[in-house]
Structures are given as structure tokens and as C-alpha cells.
């Protein structure tokens, strides 16, 4: 009887190790594939970089938009991260120009904050849009010289509404 218990315990431990290995393999695969994937319509006037895994777009005059992922750690809500981001960039000297929270077409909550900063002798806009997706944060980042950015700002805001994580 004792022998059976020992065998059962060893078997259970082995199973745990196997599951741990499987989980690690999944995590590695996920990382290798670039993490979660997103769908985002190209804003009007932008073209998409086809070879980039995450959505990335650019206008003829150099306004850029891309999506990327960060860990939602410590796990927090959208309002927390939007506030933390604003405070951090303002502390750095960025000028908060505009902040807006919205819902996407699929009902996902997001917040966009536009900051103005000097860069290379010009005033630039850096716009950060945050979505909370469970353990991850999805960031849509757009940047460009002020006058060029303002021309495409409405198109960007419209495109953000199409954002959704791919299953």
C-alpha cells in the first residue's frame, strides 16, 4: 500500500512538471510570436507596414502609429494607468494637450492622452492610447510634428475605435 502511494506521488509530481513545461512552452511560443495580436483599421492617409507583426502605420509626411503590448503589472484598471501615464510624462516636462477616454466599436474602454514636447527643433505630439486587456496593456502610440499630426488627428481617433484584440 505504501509503495502504491509513493508511486502515485511520483506520478503526480511528474505530471506537474510536464504541465509546467507545457505552460512554459506556450509562453515562449507566445513571446516568439510577438504576444497578443490586434486588429486596427488603417487611419485615413496612413499606410501599413505589412512585415511588422504588430500594427504599424505611417503617413507620407512621417506621422507614425504603432501598437505594442506591455504587462499589466501590478494589475490595475484603465483609470489607474491613464493617470500614472499622465503624471509621469508631465513630470518629465511633456505638456498634456488633450486627454479623452472612449469606447471602441466592440465596447473596449480606452484612454488617449496627447502630449506636446520639443523634438529636433520642432514641437511634436506624442499620443498614447491605453487599453487594459487582462494581464496585458495594449498601447497605441502615435507621434509626429505638431502641424502634421493635427491634420491626421481626427483620422487617428476614428481608427482607435476599430481597435480590438484578435482571438
Amino acid at each position: 500500500m505504501a509503495l502504491i502511494q509513493i508511486k502515485s506521488s511520483v506520478l503526480w509530481r511528474s505530471r506537474s512538471i510536464v504541465w509546467a513545461l507545457v505552460a512554459a512552452a506556450i509562453a515562449l511560443t507566445s513571446t516568439a510570436c510577438g504576444g497578443p495580436k490586434y486588429r486596427l483599421d488603417a487611419p485615413q492617409g496612413f499606410v501599413r507596414y505589412d512585415k511588422k507583426k504588430a500594427p504599424a502605420f505611417i503617413t507620407p509626411d512621417g506621422v507614425r502609429l504603432r501598437a505594442r503590448t506591455e504587462r499589466n503589472y501590478p494589475k490595475a484598471e484603465l483609470a489607474f494607468w491613464a493617470d500614472a501615464m499622465e503624471r509621469h510624462l508631465v513630470a518629465r516636462g511633456y505638456l498634456l494637450h488633450h486627454k479623452q477616454c472612449f469606447k471602441t466599436a466592440r465596447g473596449l474602454d480606452g484612454c488617449t492622452a496627447e502630449f506636446i514636447l520639443p523634438h529636433a527643433g520642432e514641437d511634436w505630439v506624442l499620443a498614447e492610447t491605453v487599453f487594459v486587456l487582462g494581464d496585458n496593456l495594449a498601447l497605441l502610440e502615435a507621434a509626429g510634428p505638431f502641424d502634421r499630426y493635427k491634420k491626421v488627428a481626427p483620422a487617428l481617433a476614428k481608427a482607435y475605435l476599430s481597435f480590438e484584440p484578435e482571438p
Binding site: 509621469h88 518629465r92 511633456y94 520639443p118 523634438h119 511634436w124
Partner: protein, 263 residues
């Protein structure tokens, strides 16, 4: 009784005494103000003109009234009314600055200057990124509103500097020096050659000081007649961008240079 002509040594003493008085009035050390001569005696300087009671406020007192420019029209109108030089006999200089981002700065610059000229003002400095305007006080609010409507206002400020005391002091010094100059002219009538040369030297110095004071007074009075509005189309305070470490790792990666490099 016939007035007697003073001996030359007595006239020299009088000239030296007057020179000391000039130095005292101008705030110059007696050793520097005295005319070279055989005898130097202390002289009583003309009593400085006391500033009027209204001039007791400290000069260069910045009275930034942020609420006045941050959207409250009543506060702004009140601040500008207070800044009017004729209100309460105060001489107040108004300096407003605005940083506004516009898509077409050249167009905004042109329309701003046109409306400014129509209001009786004129541009002091015109560059691609900045406009310095001399604006009649009643038109300041209109000019700022027009600029704000043309784009996105990033910063606004309004500063009032009370220059009453400075102007009163300049006027008093000027009056005092002119009186001394008039008295020196009287001495020239009876002076011999040596004394005349010394008095003329003193008068030349005095004239130079009078001109300088008159110039300062003109500048101070002009500064309170018109408001100065500084318009910048560029938010260019690069020194304000600093590295601040956040406890949240991903926030430390939010940076324009990193964004462009990783794109």
C-alpha cells in the same frame, strides 16, 4: 547796497560746494563729485523730493494674475482695468505672454498684425516663431482672444508691474539736477577763467546725467502707456524635458526618441 564781486577763491569754493551738492543728489560719493580745487567744504544737498503717498508700493512688483488669463473673462477684464495707468494714479506696466500652436503661423501672424494696427498698436519684433506686440491697453484682451481662437493655447500669463515709484524717483532726480544746472549757469556770469572751466566740466557731467535720466523716464513712461504682448508659436522649452524614473517599468519606456528608434 551794491553787491560786491566775490574773490576767485570764494567762487571756487562755491563751485566746489555746488559740485558736492550735485554728487549728493546723484548718489555719488563726495570724493568723486567734488571739483578739484584748493578747498573743499561740505555742502548741504538739496532735500530729495519725497515720493507721494501713492508711491509707497514696491517697484517692480510682479502681480501675475493667472486666473485673469485662464478663461475667466471677468477676471481678465478686471486685471486689465487694474493695469490701466490712469486708474488710481498708478503707473502699471502690463506684460502678457501666450504660447499658441497654430497650423499656419504665417497667416495668424499677418491677421494679428493687421488687427493690431487697426487698434492703434504696432509690432516690436516679428520672427517665424515669435511676435512681440505693443498693444493699447484696452485692446489687450481682444488681441489675446483673437490669438487663442486661432489655435491651441499652451500657456498664458499676464503680469502687471507697478512702476509708479520708479517714475516718481526719476522725475524727482531730474528736477533736482535741472535746478542745480540752473544755479551753475548763474555762477558762470561772475567766474574767472579757472572757475569757469571747472564749472563747465561739472555742467557737462550734469547734462549727461540729465539726458540719461530723461531717457530712462521716457522709457518708463512709454512702458506703461502700451501693454507688451509676447506671442510664441513654438513650445520650445527643451530644458524642461528631464528623466524621471517611474516605479512602473513600462512608463519608463515612454519616450519620443525610443518610439522613433523602435518604430
Amino acid at each position: 547796497m551794491t553787491p560786491q564781486r566775490l574773490p576767485s577763491s570764494a567762487r571756487a569754493v562755491a563751485a566746489a560746494a555746488l559740485a558736492l551738492a550735485i554728487g549728493a543728489a546723484a548718489g555719488v560719493h563726495p570724493a568723486q563729485a567734488a571739483v578739484p580745487g584748493p578747498v573743499q567744504v561740505p555742502a548741504k544737498a538739496p532735500a530729495p523730493v519725497p515720493p507721494p503717498a501713492a508711491a509707497k508700493a514696491p517697484a517692480d512688483r510682479p502681480t501675475a494674475d493667472q486666473g485673469a488669463v485662464d478663461g475667466d473673462p471677468k477676471a481678465r477684464a478686471e486685471a486689465l482695468r487694474k493695469g490701466h495707468p490712469h486708474v488710481g494714479d498708478r503707473a502699471v506696466q502690463v506684460v502678457a505672454s501666450i504660447v499658441v500652436k497654430v497650423v499656419h503661423p504665417a497667416e495668424v501672424r499677418r491677421t494679428t498684425i493687421e488687427s493690431l494696427k487697426a487698434a492703434g498698436g504696432w509690432p516690436l519684433l516679428v520672427t517665424d516663431q515669435e511676435l512681440h506686440l505693443a498693444v493699447p491697453l484696452p485692446a489687450v484682451a481682444t488681441v489675446i482672444d483673437q490669438l487663442a481662437a486661432a489655435g491651441i493655447v499652451l500657456q498664458k500669463s499676464l503680469q502687471r508691474v507697478d512702476r509708479t515709484e520708479e517714475i516718481v524717483q526719476l522725475q524727482a532726480k531730474l528736477k533736482s539736477k535741472r535746478e542745480i544746472l540752473a544755479r551753475l549757469r548763474g555762477l558762470l556770469d561772475d567766474a574767472d577763467t579757472g572757475s569757469t572751466l571747472r564749472v563747465e566740466g561739472t555742467m557737462n557731467q550734469l547734462l549727461s546725467e540729465v539726458e540719461q535720466l530723461q531717457g530712462d523716464l521716457n522709457v518708463a513712461e512709454a512702458s506703461v502707456r502700451m501693454a507688451r504682448v509676447v506671442v510664441s508659436f513654438q513650445y520650445h522649452q527643451r530644458q524642461r524635458i528631464t528623466y524621471v524614473r517611474s516605479p512602473f517599468q513600462w512608463l519608463n519606456q515612454l519616450d519620443i526618441d525610443r518610439f522613433l528608434a523602435d518604430f
